[in-house]
């Protein structure tokens, strides 16, 4: 990895009253990355973002931006700019004045301010609304103002706090693409905070999953989905079937365990583990069949269809198995007749390749 643009080293934040919002976080973010901080609400991701911007001070650890320790740098002197969740567009200024604000207060000459403001408005496609006041604009437009206002400063890092959460579904999709496009054109590192896994997966080049103030895993979207490090990550990112299992024996490169409802299974893994593990498998990796599947090496189990939910392109089938948890199976409805072809109450086989499942040790 090239030198990180943002380096978060052992950062903690304890609020008065003993609440630990951020707990010993270490993240390196490369230049030009689109990095997402993903986690449930209250996990400390926004606090972390605010510490990068300087609006909060860490109680411990270091934040280094562009090679410089930011400990003594106030927010107005940092090479970061933020797009706030409430947009925080100044209500008493026109769109143009909002965008120019950051340049005027730092003494950028007026002709340069004018030029850069016009460019920034052009970039977010708001040139025609330059003279409007924010109260005459929609939420999506106000957000563009907030974006232009931050980008016009040409920060090293742009921080976005839940930028899409207040928009309706259609606008959110547009804005998602817009943000990705902007990030590619301006070549600035984006750090986005979100609780929405779809948002993170579809936009970010790398994601840090955060729970209870601690980083659970930092990985690319596909790694997170296919190789989750912990139960929390597997469960938080997408839908997953988690089957508890008791470890029977552990060798250097394999674990043999007794999984609930599935019997004795052996997995290739080099991970260390305790007495219990969980077998994780995504619903779309499971196959159903009426007859017992014959192929060798499959993990298979017989159960009863408890529920079938039809979603048009896919059907989600819940199969209850004896002695184990219900399994969700997603099947493609790839023929026009019959959907998934199964009915509630029907006996059915569920099977999958061992490589499609994963043993989670923590």
């Amino acid at each position: 990895m090239t030198d990180p643009i943002v380096s978060i080293r052992g950062v903690s934040k304890k609020f008065p009253g003993g609440v630990i919002a951020v707990d010993d976080v270490n993240i390196d973010i490369a230049p030009n990355e689109f990095f997402a901080l993903l986690g449930p609400s209250g996990c400390g991701k926004t606090t972390l973002l605010r510490m990068i911007s300087g609006l909060e001070t860490p109680t411990d650890g270091q934040i280094i931006i562009g090679g410089q320790d930011m400990a003594l740098t106030p927010p107005n002197k940092r090479p970061t700019n933020m797009v706030f969740q409430s947009y925080a567009v100044f209500p008493h200024m026109t769109v143009e004045d909002n965008v120019a604000y950051g340049l005027r207060v730092t003494g950028v000459p007026e002709d340069e301010t004018k030029r850069r403001t016009a460019e920034a408005l052009e970039m977010v496609k708001l040139s025609h609304l330059a003279k409007r006041k924010p109260d005459q604009m929609s939420g999506g437009q106000r957000q563009r103002v907030a974006l232009a206002r931050a980008l016009v400063k040409r920060p090293k890092v742009l921080l976005l706090d839940e930028p899409l959460s207040a928009l309706d579904a259609k606008l959110r999709d547009d804005m998602r693409m817009e943000l990705t496009r902007l990030q590619e054109t301006v070549g600035i590192t984006f750090i986005i905070v979100t609780h929405d896994q779809d948002e993170a997966l579809s936009m970010a080049s790398r994601i840090a999953v955060i729970d209870k103030g601690a980083v659970q895993q930092i990985a690319t979207p596909s790694e997170l989905y296919e190789q989750p490090a912990t139960r929390f990550v597997a469960d938080f990112i997408g839908k997953v079937n988690l089957i508890d299992a008791k470890v029977l024996s552990k060798k250097a490169k394999a674990i043999t365990c007794e999984a609930k409802g599935l019997g004795k299974l052996t997995f290739d893994t080099e991970k260390a583990c305790g007495d219990t593990v969980a077998v994780a498998v995504r619903p779309e990796k499971l196959k159903i069949s009426k007859a017992e599947p014959k192929a060798a090496g499959l993990i298979k189990v017989q159960g009863n269809v408890r529920d079938v939910a039809y979603y048009g392109d896919t059907s989600h089938i819940v199969v209850s198995i004896k002695g184990g948890p219900d399994l969700q199976v997603n099947v493609q409805n790839d023929s026009r007749t019959g959907g998934s072809g199964v009915e509630r109450g029907q006996a059915i086989w569920v099977s999958w390749m061992p490589d499609d499942s994963l043993v989670l040790t923590e």
């Binding site: 300087g54 107005n76 706030f84 925080a88 567009v89 100044f90 209500p91 931050a150």
Partner: protein, 282 residues
């Protein structure tokens, strides 16, 4: 609800009850007829002002030519202007402090700050008179040239006006989105720049409303002014009082009408600016 009420029969559906409408009318009548009479008789040609004899603007001309009345009016406006300026700055600072900071005995401080609003004017007048006398300010200030000889009255007016400003401005600040302030700093503004360019513009409707309130309060204050003014410094309400003792002349009506108009305009403006409006949040 056990029983469905008929529309118009609820306690707040007063519009449908005849007796409530009548009561409403009577109250309005009692409140405003004296004022309307005063205004109407300011256009009366009768010298004694009791019987309506015809329409004229003469009273306004006479009032304008009555130098002592005009002097009192100028004094009043001067006092109101300066007192408003000081009370607005002071009130805004108090509002900011109460909004922004936590400090020991904040609740007690807030209660004490509001005291001039609830304390009987007569008490405040006497207290200020005693204060000015004991400190020697009364004699010292009265000897000064105009407008410094109004200092005592101005001080007294600031004392009872600034809590009103503080309350109005503070209620405005409650709706302030703190992210606006953070955004300003994030964009490179210093604390002072943030204050002048973001917080003050946000407070502005509150400041203007508070200032207008202070202006009207100061302009028509009688009791406190009566106690704190020296023999040489007469304000308009005090002057009117002394004239009325010798009988009501239509000039006073005319001058009072002018005062009413100023007060009403200021109050309407204050209410307009105080009304919740779209320019609130960010």
């Amino acid at each position: 609800m056990a029983e469905q009420m008929k529309p118009g029969s609820g306690p707040l559906d007063y519009g449908n009850r005849l007796w409530l409408k009548v009561l409403f009318g009577v109250i309005f009548f009692m409140l405003y007829v004296p004022i309307i009479t005063l205004v109407a008789f300011s256009f009366n040609t009768d010298r004694r002002g009791i019987v309506w004899r015809g329409f004229t603007f003469d009273n306004y001309v006479k009032a304008w030519n009555n130098s002592s009345l005009i002097e009192a009016m100028i004094n009043s406006l001067m006092i109101a202007f300066i007192a408003t300026l000081i009370a607005t700055v002071l009130g805004a600072m108090v509002a900011l402090m109460l909004w922004r900071f936590r400090f020991p005995f904040k609740g007690a401080y807030e209660a004490f700050m509001g005291l001039p609003i609830v304390i009987p004017e007569i008490c405040m007048g006497v207290a200020l008179l005693l204060f000015f006398n004991e400190t020697g300010m009364m004699t010292a200030v009265v000897a000064m040239p105009w407008p410094l000889n109004l200092s005592n009255i101005i001080i007294a007016h600031v004392a009872f006006c600034f809590p009103f400003v503080a309350i109005v401005v503070r209620s405005r600040l409650v709706g302030f989105n703190r992210q606006l302030e953070e955004a300003s700093k994030d964009l490179g503004a210093s604390e002072w720049q943030t204050f002048w360019k973001v917080i003050v513009p946000f407070m502005m409707p509150g400041l203007v409303a508070g200032a207008l309130l202070a202006f009207t309060l100061s302009l028509d204050d009688f009791v406190i002014t009566f106690f704190t003014s020296g023999p040489e410094t007469v304000t308009f309400p005090v002057k009117v009082y002394s004239l009325v003792r010798r009988g009501v002349s239509p000039e006073i009506n005319a001058a009072s009408t002018v005062l009413i108009v100023i007060t009403v305009v200021a109050t309407v403006l204050a209410m307009k600016l105080q009304a919740p409006q779209k320019s609130g949040k960010g």
